[in-house]
Amino acid sequence: MFAYILRRIFYAIPILIGVNLLTFTLFFVVNSPDDMARMHLGEKHLTPEAIEKWKHNRGYDKPLLYNDKAEGAGKFTDTIFFTKSVSLFAFRFGSADDGRDIGQDILQRMWPSLAIAVPVFIVGILFNITFALLLAFFRGTYLDVWGVILCVVLMSISALFYIIGGQYLVGKMLHLVPISGYDTGLNSFKFLILPVIIGVIGGIGAGTRWYRTIFLEEINKDYVRTARAKGLSELRVLFRHVLKNAMIPILTGAVVIIPQLFMGSLLTESFFGIPGLGSYTIDAIQSQDFAIVRAMVFLGSVAYIVGLIMTDISYTLVDPRIRLD
């Protein structure tokens, strides 16, 4: 397994370089260093000298990809692409254009994101699996029909509606929790409970329907009939046998998300005033802060690759026939 993981890590390097190059190209097709300077310095009293100074101070006064004035390897290394990219692979993200250390900001903002994303993920997956198993159990009955209708209804409602509706009902009308805000430690409970509940409810429709489909595929297989014939209770059949055999597709969808949980949710964090990473990338794109954009895209790519590797490893845990060689 170790060799497999090592091989996957080596495969990841060209992928990350490619992602980085793509991000760089897309960003600078839309924004030039001059545009970035103008965005940060504002329009008032702006002089060409100020633009040059801004670029110089942040290393944007070099050529983008190829420096024909440099010598030897410098033609490639004395460029914006190289100087801004190489440190990423050491997870040194440098400073944002407003001077803040990006690594510090990410470190600071990832915890509030995780405080919502982890409970939503865990509670959501448990609830959805349980609900889907119950629907599978009651398949063909009016409970199943109404359950599926409920799921379709829940899926059809926009996430924004859940958030605004939840804030209106629970925070504004019933006065049970703060409408928005954040705190640390035990005090965080009152701020997190509503976004977590909303996050879970918002995911019930799609999650349950997906898991129900998986379970229905399993539930008519011979081993299930055998288990029932042995006299096992239906709950035992579902949770011990069906669930275990349905784990591969469940893990495929779920484990890959885990490393990305720290990146947060744009809508939830914005509306609930959670100081997480959800809006970090969007804000950076709007303010043309390439340093943050490349760091976050890079981290997202790394997280995705790690998620895929974790998924592969998780297969070996639930299915002994799978070996990672």
Binding site: Q104, K172, H175, I193, R225
Partner: protein
């Protein structure tokens, strides 16, 4: 046996939910002594704390770099330039802040001889501003000033090892302070030219402060020599145009006559900066912790920033070293009746602490304001109808809901302008020909900004009659203030000329029915604009509709911000929308937007329309250095008339600011120029607590109802489960 067991499990499930609900409620009630939905800790109840918010984190808090309103919101309370705007007086009046008196100005000729105070501007080679600082002003407590027993700075040579346990500024346990000196002001002026900062006004100040441009070159050389990580002690490098006279006096020498410098002296760019602070923050290890001068200001103002987490909360507390300052004893007419002089003569500031929380979305902010958890609020378009209603006479007033809560409304026309400009370099709409002038005037009549304000701004604005907004010297009210090319004076108010008049002008310009009289081709115009969200579509459609009223076709060229800027720089736009927010309350700050040598294409200036009129430029040169006087007003009147006649802009609108505040928040008077207004505000925390309690009683019964519904809904499931359990394995499979 199985059946009994499962029944017991079923009961347990129902009870479990009930217990869960009770635990949840207890947890909620346990974590909050007062209102359950109170976002603030119980320890803050009844305290003299102002609660406000920010929607976008400030980019810079270093006074040499900060220039936007969301940055001045903070640093305006912390840094103190020598001058300030009087909080209550209108028109806006400068008064000393840390200066003991208004600066003394001396005019010199080219040979250095002193000239009379009324010398002609052309004879003045230099103006020297001498500024005296009040004695005894002290900086806020800060670790940068901390010294050991030997008198050496305690926090020097900070490297990663010394900063091992430091995460925020509060982790430095020892603080110190010292007296403000004139040298601190001089140090800050030198920082305008610092090679490592990009001050937005350096280019402008290069033109005025003697030697500043050369100083920037000198510092650039020093920077190259010492390396980017080494602190540059600016005290070692003198700046020709700025000098310390004595401990409490400094001089600024500028080229020519520039009376507007006084306004700049009321802005944080000219606030004092202690060299110790710059040195303290200069270590690279500090920067990697985000502890920088750009994020942790050091000032002498009424407040100091103690918590700076721009991703969540920024907290300012009263500066214990703040110098003696009292609430003003005089204001403008009506201030006494409005209760704005109740606190006259009392010591400032009134509020102990201000907590700004990040609130990105307007809906939660608004709801929290209504619950009493924010003390003051603007009005977003989403909540406008809930807050404001129009009277039969067209005036605005608060809705009954707001009145019931005791919420109060303050409005003020902003010293800003949003206009639609014509590119005067464009062969169709630009130029000085009578044809183009009539075309522009016809469009000026057709585009109905009163309607625009009503539809898109909920009536929050006034249609502009010219370039100078209300509140700025030179603006005229009433009949003599209307733009006679677009409006008539009817029944005591301006009335836009009928669309027939626009059509007549258009025909006179050579475009009868919107077609070129010579070629017969329809006249197609292009409006360059940024935006593109769904909400902008209605805006674009409205513009098209306005032009269609006079049979003109308008093509909207919607581009991203970068491309739009590029078009403007190259002069490729035909019509465009733009805006300007006053730096200071002087007509020069608006009229220069149409000054020829300030053209965007040819001179990289702020004259986006590239308007050039020799007579206007001559009058501008004459007016810009004059004190406010009837003579200056007469020149401004002529200049405004020239621009109205030439119509390089559709004058657009001046937005109106609407501020709502609760009854416990007092001394609120919008001041669009002053930045240090927080210290004048006062709170009644007891009243706030009382109202919050009344408005936020928790409603618990729906939770019980919800739990009941959940339990009841489990019954058919349990019954169905039991039925299934009694089926055979083969039956279950189907």
């Amino acid at each position: 046996m199985h059946g009994i067991l499962h029944r017991q499990k079923g009961r347990l499930t129902g009870n479990g939910l009930l217990y869960l609900g009770i635990v949840l409620i207890l947890l909620l009630s346990g974590c909050q002594q007062g209102e359950w939905n109170n976002p603030y800790p119980a320890s803050q109840q009844g305290k003299n704390i102002l609660y406000s918010s920010f929607s976008q984190r400030p980019s810079h808090l270093d006074p040499v770099r900060a220039y936007s309103s969301n940055e001045y919101l903070f640093i305006g309370q912390i840094y103190e330039p020598p001058l300030q705007y009087h909080y209550l007086k209108r028109p806006y009046t400068l008064s000393p802040l840390t200066a003991s008196q208004m600066p003394e100005v001396t005019y010199l000729d080219a040979s250095g001889q002193v000239l009379a105070r009324d010398a002609e501007a052309k004879d003045i080679a230099y103006s020297v501003y001498t500024i005296h600082i009040k004695p005894g002003i002290r900086f806020q407590p800060h670790p940068a000033f901390a010294r050991d027993a030997a008198g050496q700075l305690l926090y020097r040579d900070l490297d990663e090892a010394r900063l091992e346990h430091v995460r925020t500024l509060r982790d430095f346990k020892v603080t110190g302070s010292r007296t403000l000196t004139a040298a601190d002001y001089v140090y800050q002026i030198k920082r305008l030219a610092h090679p490592r900062y990009t001050s937005p006004i350096q280019g402008l100040m290069n033109e005025f402060i003697v030697g500043l441009k050369d100083y920037a070159a000198t510092l650039a050389e020093v920077d190259k020599a010492v390396g980017s990580e080494q602190w540059i002690d600016l005290r070692k490098y003198p700046l020709e145009g700025v000098e310390v006279v004595d401990e409490l006096t400094y001089r600024i020498r500028i080229k020519g006559k520039y009376p507007q410098l006084l306004y700049w002296l009321a802005m944080p760019f000219f606030a004092p900066m202690p060299w110790e602070a710059e040195q303290f923050y200069s270590y690279p290890a500090m920067q990697s912790l985000n502890i920088t001068l750009d994020w942790y200001p050091v000032g002498t103002g009424a407040y100091m920033l103690t918590v700076n987490n721009p991703n969540r909360q920024m907290i300012m507390v009263r500066n214990p070293n703040f110098h003696a300052m009292n609430y003003p004893a005089e204001g403008e007419a009506g201030d006494r009746e409005a209760g704005l002089l109740v606190d006259a003569g009392k010591k400032l500031p009134f509020i102990d602490q201000v907590i700004y929380s990040l609130e990105k979305e307007s809906i939660p902010y608004w709801n929290k304001f209504l619950q009493g958890y924010y003390d003051v609020s603007g009005i977003s378009s989403d909540s406008f109808d809930q807050a404001i209603q129009f009277t039969s006479s067209g005036d605005t007033e608060l809705t009954p809901l707001m009145k019931e809560k005791g919420i109060q409304l303050q409005t003020e026309v902003q010293t800003s302008t949003f206009y639609l400009g014509f590119n005067m370099l464009d062969p169709v709409v630009g130029g000085d020909s009578q044809r183009a002038r009539l075309l522009r005037r016809a469009i000026s009549i057709a585009v109905n900004y009163e309607e625009y304000i009503s539809i898109f701004s909920n009536g929050r604005g006034i249609a502009a009659q010219g370039i100078i907004p209300p509140g700025i010297f030179g603006h005229r009210e009433g009949r003599e203030g209307i733009n006679p090319y677009v409006y008539d004076w009817v029944n005591g108010r301006p009335q836009r000329k009928p669309i027939e008049e626009a059509k007549r002008l258009l025909a006179e310009a050579g475009y009868p029915n919107g077609r070129n009289a010579k070629t017969g081709k329809p006249l197609l115009l292009h409006l360059d604009i940024t935006g593109g969200g769904p909400e902008d579509k209605a805006n674009f459609d409205w513009f098209r509709k306005q032009f269609r009223k006079i049979d003109l076709e308008l093509v909207i060229r919607n581009t991203d911000y970068n491309r739009f800027q590029e078009k403007m720089r190259k002069g490729n736009a035909q019509l465009f929308t733009w805006g300007w927010n006053a730096d200071y309350p002087d007509p020069e700050n608006f009229l220069f937007l149409l000054y020829g040598p300030n053209g965007k294409v040819r001179h990289h200036g702020e004259n986006a329309a590239n308007y050039e009129n020799p007579e206007f430029d001559r009058l501008f040169d004459q007016m810009k250095n004059m004190p406010n006087s009837p003579e200056r007003q007469a020149i401004i009147d002529t200049m405004v008339e020239i621009t109205r006649r030439d119509a390089p802009w559709l004058w657009g609108l001046h937005p109106k600011q609407f501020i709502l505040h609760h009854s416990w928040y007092m001394n609120v008077k919008p001041n669009l120029m002053a930045h240090n207004t927080l210290m004048y505000k006062r709170l009644d925390p007891a009243l706030r607590e009382e109202k919050r309690k009344a408005w936020n009683k928790p409603v618990v019964w729906p939770i019980g109802l919800l739990l009941l519904i959940m339990i009841i809904s489990l019954v058919p499931a349990v019954m169905a489960y039991r039925r299934q359990e009694h089926q055979s394995a083969a039956q279950k499979g189907h």
